[in-house]
């Protein structure tokens, strides 16, 4: 996997394309605000204010959404879509990781904003009753990344399940000799909105073991080996949606023949 060296200190060493990709990225810590829009199920809006510049963002499109009792680490990129159904410019792609920092819960009314009608996200899996298309060969060593919320090892619904489902479909067809699962954690401390954050080193092992157990359940009989690494570096894999911090918080499933 091609690795990127990232962010301001490392920008000079990256390609022009990578530098362009990191431009405009937004990262801050905030107490989330719930806007009670009602356009049907799952239609409420999540807003978060970047206190360093006073900007309010719509962060609703995160695959893991905020808890109004806790601060969130917001990571995203301003959306190309100028529409503001939640009353603020949107970050999309965006991630909102729950931090163990208590917040005063705050809900505001819709104030005329419609919110978004729920649509099934691109990353959703079919029921087990639907046969998966067999991926064409030839098969060779391949790596499948899976991504996590900050400092967590929890498989994200309609994100990780889709990534794993694709990997498992391929693995079942390719029949590799073994799987090497490597967990990564972004353990280098960083200061965001005045808060110093770093993932626990244990998160790397937890991620490896979660994915390894998942593989044992989904492809029983296949040998699974676990490894873990701290001080994770970003990658440019597409399913991290161009968010370097998301790409650091990962596990990799390497199919070995």
């Amino acid at each position: 996997m091609k690795r990127l060296t990232l962010l301001a200190a490392l920008c000079a060493a990256t390609s022009a394309q990578a530098a362009q990709d990191t431009a405009g990225l937004v990262r801050f810590v905030a107490c989330p605000v719930y806007r009670d829009t009602d356009a049907g199920r799952k239609s409420g809006c999540w807003l978060a204010d970047d206190r360093e510049n006073g900007k309010r963002w719509d962060v609703t499109e995160s695959p893991y959404k905020p808890d109004w009792n806790f601060a969130v680490l917001v990571e995203g990129r301003p959306s190309a879509n100028a529409a503001q159904p939640c009353g603020a410019p949107a970050l999309d792609p965006v991630r909102t990781s729950r931090l163990d920092i208590p917040c005063t819960r705050h809900m505001i009314p819709a104030e005329g904003f419609p919110g978004r009608r729920y649509t099934l996200p691109r990353r959703n899996i079919a029921p087990l009753s639907v046969a998966r298309a067999v991926p064409p060969g030839p098969y060779a060593e391949r790596v499948f990344p899976v991504y996590f919320e900050f400092d967590k090892d929890f498989l994200v619904y309609q994100y990780d399940d889709w990534l794993i489902d694709n990997a498992v479909t391929w693995i079942k067809a390719a029949k590799p000799k073994k799987l090497i699962v490597t967990g990564f954690a972004a353990t280098a401390p960083e200061t965001v909105s005045g808060v110093t954050i770093a993932e626990r080193p244990e998160a790397a092992q937890e991620r490896a073991e979660t994915i390894a157990e998942t593989m044992r359940r989904l492809v029983p009989g296949t040998a699974v080996e676990t490894k873990w690494e701290v001080a994770a570096q970003p990658t440019d894999e597409p399913e991290a949606d161009g968010l370097p911090w998301q790409s650091q918080r990962r596990a990799e499933i390497r199919a070995v023949f």
Binding site: Y64, K65, D100, P127, L155, I164, T214, P220
Partner: protein, 500 residues
């Protein structure tokens, strides 16, 4: 201490049970109560009236001779059989009404009131009604769980919480023989229906989004497990469930034989139970409606209502009954059918904010709060249970959401690792639920979603019987989530649930 009179001990258990049963019948009409060992034949279709209409139980391949059948024969020292707490008249569960009736008719001598779990605690005087108040007032059976939890899904577990007993009104969580220090925790729960099992065992997707894992595999057949069998998900398949029940509720001294397990499993997979007729609305499978157990028997289980057949669309035809059809009904029947159809829509479409509910608002990623309706969790077509493993904390067993009851034990749970996502580090609960199986503080208070069929036959509701009737169920949700149901919507939901 034993509940049976001294002279009864001279009788073989089976003969005694039969004697109690015959004595309780009081006539030639087959009794509603199925006593262990009485040897009746279970018809292919069996109807029982209740306050809301008629419940029908189908036994595929029936009739079934129950003589010698392990579901119906007393297997343990207390003279109980599976049927004792899984009565056909009660949708294969047990209603408080039936429990009280048996108490009154047998002066408390029915095997149902066995000291082990049919009383508040075996240490209490068993001949007194108050010693069985939790069963007689709320339909609760004592469930004894080991402490600390040692394994889950075959993997070793070290609980990330401690547990203390704040109060023990019944004596079964303290003293030398009971309580955490003695390695046992007593909680009190409603028996879950042994019917419509294929839906409870169905697997829709390969993941448990609430736990953030792929589904565990059945140790017997290697297939993914549904996680929807028991209140605390302590048994992932029917073998484990029946072995657990035999060793505890039946007090079997020997293990079930392979032949008994096979016979039990075969039977449990053939039983379907649902309301067939509404007292106020008439036949539930008429004028285009598709209520009743036949449809349950004939449908494929495990379908997600949001991408297939909407939940409770069995009553869609009653949303607009043509005039010529309506003319064949009494005004009361017509109004009741329309109410059932409205109730189904309210169930699916009335949105509200779901807050601070583990299994929904955490850790799954939906956010806290999240706007949705009843079908967010009750999402399986035809059945209304959860397609995913249904461990959710509605607050029914845990403070501050649970109602204040002084006759249940109260536990103080202290999280030793991360705090609970909604309750914090210290939690007060009547029943830690799934946490007693998983060993995780984040699972305290989670109870597997209830089956929704045959509700009319088996009040009260929720795992600890907090809702004495169907209106109580609606009222709890209204209290918990400030939904804002209108009076009409509440009644429509009650009428819907009475027809399932």
């Amino acid at each position: 201490m034993h509940f049976l009179p001294q002279k009864a001990f001279a009788l073989p258990i089976a003969a005694l049970v039969l004697a109690l049963s015959v004595g309780a019948r009081g006539g030639d009409v087959p009794d509603r109560w199925w006593a262990p060992g009485e040897g009746r034949v279970l018809p292919a279709a069996l109807d029982y009236d209740n306050d809301h209409g008629t419940l029908r139980t189908l036994t595929v391949g029936g009739p079934l001779k129950t003589a010698g059948h392990p579901f119906f024969e007393p297997l343990g020292k207390d003279g109980r059989a599976c049927v004792t707490c899984h009565q056909p008249s009660d949708a294969m569960s047990l209603s408080v009404k039936s429990a009280r009736r048996q108490w009154d008719r047998t002066d408390g001598k029915d095997p149902l009131f066995a000291a082990y779990d049919g009383s508040n605690c075996p240490t209490l005087p068993q001949d007194r009604r108050e010693s069985h108040s939790l069963l007689l007032d709320r339909g609760l059976i004592r469930v004894e769980r080991p402490w600390p939890t040692k394994s889950f899904n075959g993997n070793p577990v070290t609980p990330d919480f401690t547990i203390e007993v704040v109060r023990d009104p019944n004596g079964c969580n303290s003293g030398p023989a009971y309580g955490p220090a003695a390695g046992k925790i007593s909680v009190y729960r409603r028996p879950r229906p042994v019917a419509n099992m294929k839906y409870l065992l169905a697997v829709g997707f390969p993941y448990d989004p609430k736990q953030g894992y792929a589904l565990p595999l059945d140790p017997d057949d290697g297939k993914p497990q549904s996680g929807n069998l028991m209140a605390d998900n302590r048994a992932g398949n029917l073998r484990i469930q029946m072995e657990d029940a035999a060793a505890t509720h039946l007090q079997m001294l020997k293990a079930l034989t392979p032949a008994q397990r096979k016979t039990l499993q075969d039977f449990e997979l053939r039983v379907y139970s649902a309301m067939q007729t509404s007292k106020a609305g008439g036949a539930l499978d008429s004028m285009g409606a598709r209520g009743g157990p036949v449809r349950l028997r004939d449908s494929q289980p495990g379908a997600l209502g949001s991408i297939g057949e909407p939940v409770w669309s069995e009553f869609k035809a009653w949303e607009s009954i043509p005039k010529d059809e309506a003319a064949k009904l009494t005004p009361e029947q017509l109004a009741h059918r329309q109410s059932i159809a409205r109730g189904a829509k309210v169930f699916r479409e009335k949105m509200f904010l779901i807050t601070d509910t583990a299994g929904i608002n955490s850790r799954i990623g939906f956010g806290n709060p999240v706007r949705n309706s009843c079908v967010f969790c009750h999402n399986m077509s035809q059945m209304g249970n959860d397609v995913a493993p249904g461990q959710v904390d509605l607050g029914t067993t845990t403070l501050p959401f649970a109602d204040p009851w002084d006759d249940l034990p109260l536990f103080k749970v202290t999280c030793t690792g991360r705090p609970h996502p909604h309750y914090g580090k210290v939690i007060y609960t009547y029943d830690p639920g799934f946490a007693l199986t998983s060993g995780k503080c984040a699972d305290v208070g989670k109870i597997t979603l209830q089956s929704m069929r045959g509700l009319s036959a088996r009040a009260p509701y929720f795992s600890n019987g907090l809702a004495k009737d169907l209106r109580g169920v609606v009222d709890y949700y209204e209290r918990r989530y400030s939904i804002g149901y209108t009076e009409q919507e509440k009644q429509d939901l009650v009428n819907l649930m009475s027809a399932l």
